[in-house]
Amino acid sequence: MHVIATVGGRPVEIQVRTVLQHAWANTTEALADQWGRGIRYGEPPTGANEAQIAERAVALGHWRAASDAIAWMERELEAVSPTEAERIAALVDESTTPSKRPLGQALAALRESLLGAGAEISRSLQAELNELGSTQVAPS
């Protein structure tokens, strides 16, 4: 949610972000510092040579697609009733061995996928998750 309040004639932007939206946006900011501020405006990334620029462009495409995935996932989660959500959370809690941790496996798979797409994205995302106090996902 993104609104503009006008207080005493002065505009103030108010953003309300979910944790995932925040992690995505902050990671994008961190990437922009390394790959060029223009990526925030849809421009291609910078790089030391054409090969690196091409590699980053591919990774950036995946990263932008992740934004849509986050929006999709959050909409889907809205469809889960509070009761169902509690049951899902309980199932996750009851899982004691790594092989029975679907959520952890999914996160590890996501991290691996991001590693494949671009190490910088993965590092930035992990830093964001750590900053937010999330559990570190160990590489598989």
Binding site: M1, H2, V3, I4, A5, T6, V7, G8, R10, P11, V12, E13, I14, Q15, V16, R17, T18, V19, Q21, H22, W24, A25, T28, R37, R40, Y41, S67, D68, I70, A71, E74, R75, L77, E78, P82, L132
Partner: protein
Amino acid sequence: MADRFSKTAIDRLGRKLAETTSPDAADTELLLAYLRQASSALDHTLMVVARVVSSLPAGAHVLHVTHRVKTIGTIIEKLRRGTGRLSQMQDVVGVRVVGSLGLAPRTSCRRSLQTASRARTWTIAENDPATDTVPCT
């Protein structure tokens, strides 16, 4: 004496900032004064946002509320991209709420902010979603 923060004066400043690689001392001072004035809206905004956040429905967990005034560098960056005039830049001052907020709490938050907008000093409008860098629902 002309208002140093009139739209004309601020837009003139914005054009100068966009065209120069190194703003002179007078322009920098004027921009800083403009930012100080703009940031005077923060106290009231934070008070309203805190009230809204404290009345969110059960299940909503707010991790943090932060605020910031845009830096000179990012203002110049935005002006150079030609995305608008300085007097129309709406994110010079911003407040951000981050949390585990589903659609219902976010809708509640929006309604509460709209209710607050009925106060004469506070009006609210949707921003252009195209300028947003995060997924919006």
